[in-house]
């Protein structure tokens, strides 16, 4: 599993690997928001945590359809599947690689982009914490979607249609946690629910994704 993870990380960082893609998209979306809503700081700061979460979620979605497609196109997938590594392990490695190349950078970049949306400085730690806990769930759900849509031409569109509704609980709890943190309110149920959601995804989704992968390998 480690070998696959290291290879995917190395591939992502190498030229044309798409490491910066998710990050750049995240920046663009955040910059576009004030153009759409106007520069009024009071308005921007009220929507900042939620908007940063939506932008992070869309950025995570962007790099998903390449997850299995590269190995599918150059014929490496069958040899990956006959390796001693179980499919669940392969899928978990892919999700981890996606998180490390997309989820984590987004989590670290989000507070830096906070000022663009007049995010109060006190909110940084909560935004960081909510993204850190929530983005792994996005990667796991996304990997499941990617495994479902491997053999489908133009599968990227279908992937978004399948994955975005599955993202709703994570978005609600994550954005709520960031928002309450920003407003100085007690976090309450948002944190435990978000953490439970991510752990649940970690426990269940690799099996569902492996099942989908096994079907697509046929």
């Amino acid at each position: 599993m480690r070998a696959l993870l290291l290879r995917d990380l190395r591939l992502a960082v190498r030229a044309g690997g798409g490491f910066g893609l998710g990050l750049a998209f995240f920046l663009i979306v955040v910059v576009l928001v004030p153009f759409g809503l106007g520069p009024d700081r009071a308005l921007l700061s009220s929507i900042a945590p939620g908007m940063l979460w939506v932008a992070a979620l869309l950025a995570a979605l962007l790099t998903l359809d390449r997850l299995f497609a590269l190995d599918h196109e150059d014929g490496a997938l069958p040899l990956l599947a006959t390796a001693p590594l179980p499919l669940e392990g392969l899928v978990a490695a892919k999700a981890a690689a996606h998180w490390l190349t997309t989820g984590l950078p987004l989590t670290l970049a989000a507070p830096l982009l906070g000022p663009l949306l007049a995010l109060p400085p006190g909110a940084w730690p909560w935004l960081l914490a909510s993204l850190a806990i929530g983005t792994p769930a996005l990667s796991l759900i996304g990997t499941f979607g990617a495994a479902l849509t491997i053999g489908i031409r133009r599968g990227g569109l279908l992937l978004s249609l399948i994955v975005l509704p599955l993202y709703v609980p994570t978005l609600i709890f994550g954005a709520e946690m960031a928002r309450r943190g920003a407003a100085g309110l007690p976090i309450g149920a948002a944190l435990p629910m978000l953490a439970a959601l991510t752990l649940g995804c970690l426990a269940l989704l690799p099996f569902a994704a492996a099942a989908a992968l096994r079907v697509n390998l046929r």
Partner: protein, 208 residues
């Protein structure tokens, strides 16, 4: 690297709801190879994928195919990684150390640090084959491995297959039209073509 005999009895494989071949039976002892012949579309690839366990057979029994590895003619090489990195990855994935002998055997030593993207198609094909040596799997299932390879490289691959792989107790089932210089029995799948009256597959039989 010796192990159980690969035993195939009454195997039937299907694709896209149609049975391709049926009643295929053969045994393969360690240290031996089998060449699959037959026109395109007869089911060579599907048979190899079924032996590798990538898809369930329609009928029949396969035993002794635990340590299998399937490679299609697509060489599964990552352009952004160097030759050594590509091979090291596959070796480590299959739980082995990459020994440099593999590079010399496939005349890739000089290209070790070159990104695979800069290789010619013949070199890239040799890297694809070197992968099969690097993973050290007992049963190799190869689908047209020597496509777009020059004669010297074909001979080199045949030599490695006979001496190193089969010599070391490995087994191989190879679908190819090119002579690899192996004295190995050939199995022509045309003889096992599913009769038109054969029961359809892929769930169609429930609807007919």
């Amino acid at each position: 690297m010796t192990g159980p005999v690969l035993r195939v009895a009454g195997l039937c494989v299907a694709r896209g709801g149609r049975r391709l071949v049926e009643g295929v039976s053969f045994d393969l002892a360690p240290g031996h190879a089998l060449i699959l012949r037959g026109p395109n579309g007869i089911g060579k690839t599907t048979l190899l994928r079924t032996l590798a366990g990538l898809q369930p057979p329609e009928a029949g029994e396969i035993t002794g195919a635990e340590e299998a590895a399937y490679a299609s003619h697509a060489d599964g090489v990552k352009a952004a990684l160097t030759v050594t990195e590509n091979l090291a990855f596959w070796a480590e994935l299959y739980g082995r150390e990459l020994d440099s002998a593999v590079l010399t055997t496939f005349d890739l030593a000089g290209l070790a640090e070159r990104p695979a993207g800069t290789l010619s198609s013949g070199q890239r094909r040799r890297l694809g084959l070197a992968r099969m040596a690097a993973i050290g799997r007992r049963l190799l299932l190869l689908d047209e491995p020597t496509v777009s390879l020059d004669a010297a490289s074909v001979a080199r691959f045949g030599h490695w297959l006979a001496e190193a792989h089969l010599g070391g107790g490995g087994m191989a089932v190879i679908a190819t039209h090119i002579d690899l210089g192996l004295e190995a029995p050939a199995l022509d799948l045309s003889a096992f073509r599913a009769s038109a009256e054969a029961a359809p597959a892929g769930g169609d039989e429930a609807f007919l």
